[in-house]
Symmetry: C2
Subunit: 271 residues, 2 copies
C-alpha cells in the first residue's frame, strides 16, 4: 500500500481544547501508520474568510459587476489566485484524505472554516457545471467531518429539540463534500465534551484513536450517481423513481421522494 497523505483542516482558537486534542490524536495515529499528515490551523494562520476581489491577482474581468465564482474560475485557469488559496489547493491536490476538525457553531462549521470552503474549493479546481457530485473533480479523495457539539446527542434526534443530526449534516456532506466528488466517510461526532467528565472526554478520544487506526479502509457513505439524474433539470430519472416507488424509505435525507428519511443516512455507511 502506498503511503497516504492526509490534510487536517483545523478550526479552534486554543491548543488546550478538546478539538486540538482530537486533531493531535489524528496526527499521531496516522503518522504512526506511515501517513504524511499536514495541518491547516486556520486561526493560527489568520486565514482570510471573506470571498473578495482581493482573492484575484491582477485585473478582474468585470469590476463593475463582480461575480466571485466566475472571476475565481477564470483566475484559477490563468494562475492568478492569491497565494493563501493556491497553497491550500496544493495541499488538497496532494491529499488522499481530508479531515475537517471543528466545534459546531450554529449547526454548521465556524465562519473561518466556511471561508476555507468558499475560497479554496474554486470552480474549475474542485468542480465544474458538468463535473460535480459523483463526477466531481476531487472524486479520488476521501473527506470527513470530525466535530464537537455543545448539545447532547438526545437533542439531535428526530424527536429532539435540535432535530435529526442527519438533516443538519446533509447540506454540508452532500452540498459541499460530495458536490466536489469527495468520498465522504461517516462523521466523527464528539457529543458535548464540555459537559462531560475528564474521564468521559478521555474515553471519547480513545474511541477516536481506535477508529483512526482503520480509518483509511472504512467504507464511505452512499450517495447517488450523477447518471441517475437527467442532465437538464437534474431530476431522478423515471426508471430510478419507479424502481424505488415500493420502498419504505426515501433514497437519501434530501432526496427523500416524500418518504420517511432512511435512518442514519448521513451517519453510517450503507444506510
Amino acid at each position: 500500500m502506498m503511503a497516504k497523505k492526509v490534510l487536517i483542516v483545523f478550526a479552534h482558537q486554543s491548543s488546550a481544547s478538546f478539538n486540538a486534542a482530537a486533531k493531535s490524536a489524528a496526527v499521531e495515529v496516522l503518522t504512526a501508520q506511515g501517513c504524511t499528515v499536514e495541518v491547516s490551523d486556520l486561526y493560527a494562520m489568520n486565514f482570510k474568510a471573506a470571498a473578495t476581489a482581493e482573492d484575484i491577482k491582477g485585473d478582474v474581468k468585470d469590476a463593475e459587476h463582480f461575480r466571485y465564482q466566475e472571476e475565481t474560475r477564470l483566475a484559477w485557469e490563468e494562475g492568478r489566485l492569491v497565494e493563501d488559496i493556491t497553497a491550500e489547493q496544493t495541499k488538497l491536490t496532494e491529499a488522499d484524505l481530508v479531515i475537517f476538525q471543528f466545534p459546531m457553531y450554529w449547526f454548521s462549521v465556524p465562519a473561518i472554516m466556511k471561508g476555507w470552503i468558499d475560497r479554496v474549493l474554486t470552480c474549475g479546481f474542485a468542480f465544474t457545471g458538468e463535473k460535480r457530485y459523483s463526477q466531481g473533480l476531487l472524486k479520488e479523495k476521501k473527506a470527513m467531518l470530525s466535530f464537537t457539539t455543545g448539545s447532547l446527542e438526545s437533542m439531535f434526534s428526530s424527536t429532539g429539540i435540535n432535530g435529526d443530526m442527519n438533516v443538519t449534516l446533509w447540506p454540508i456532506q452532500n452540498g459541499i463534500l460530495h458536490y466536489c466528488g469527495f468520498q465522504v466517510l461517516p462523521p466523527q461526532i464528539f457529543w458535548a465534551p464540555s459537559c462531560a467528565s475528564p474521564e468521559a472526554r478521555q474515553t471519547m478520544l480513545e474511541g477516536w484513536r481506535s477508529r483512526l487506526a482503520g480509518l483509511l479502509e472504512e467504507k464511505p457513505l452512499s450517495f447517488i450517481s450523477l447518471d441517475c439524474f437527467d442532465p437538464k433539470a437534474f431530476q431522478l430519472t423515471p426508471d430510478v423513481q419507479e424502481k424505488h416507488a415500493s420502498q419504505e424509505f426515501g433514497l437519501m435525507v434530501g432526496i427523500h421522494l416524500g418518504k420517511p428519511l432512511p435512518p442514519q443516512n448521513q451517519m453510517k455507511a450503507g444506510c
Copy 2:
C-alpha cells in the same frame, strides 16, 4: 401602528448585483411604508468573520483554554465586547425585523455572514441555556432569509440532485434564527437569477416588491414550543408524541419522528 425598524444584513461584493438590487428594493419599499431601514453591508464594512479572543476587550478569563462562547458571554455581561460586535447588537436590539440578503454559497450563507452570526448572536444577548427556541431572547423580533441560488428550483426538490430545499433551510432557520427566538418569515428565494433573462430577473424583483408591501403582516413559519420538550434530554414529551402518532407527516423537517417530512415546512407558513 408604530413605525417599524428593519435591519438588512447584506452580503454581496458588488453594488451591481442582483442581491444588491433585492436589498435596494427592500430599502425603498419599506422606507416608503414609513419603516426605518438600516443596512449592514458586510463586505463594504470589511466585517471580521473569525471568532477570536480579539473580540473581547481586556483580559479573557482563561487564556490557556480559550472557549469562545463562554468568554464572549462573560464579556457581553461586563460590556467588554469589541465595538464592531456591539454596534451590530445595538442595531439588532432596535430592529423589529431582520432580513438576511445573500447569494447562497455551498448550501449556506457566505463566510462573512456566518461570521456575523457567530460573533453577533452572543450567548446572554441572543439566547441562554434556558432562554432559547420559543423562549429565545429575540422572540419579539422577526427574521427572514432572502437569497439567490446558482441552481434551478427543480434541482432543490425531493427528487432533485441537490435535495429538498426544506432540508437545506432547516439548520439555518431552526438552528440559528428560531434558536434565538426569532419569528421566522418564509424565505424569499430567487432561483438562479444568473441563468435568467433580464426580463425574468425584473419579474423576480417585482415579485419581491409586491411581497415587501405586506411583509410586516405576514404569518411566520410554525415551530414547536419549548414546553413540548422535557427540560433534561429535550425530547418531545410522551403526550406530544402520542398525540402525533397517527399523523401522516412528521412535526417538522428535523423533528420528523421517522415519518415523511411535512411538505414545504420551511418554505410556507402553516406547513
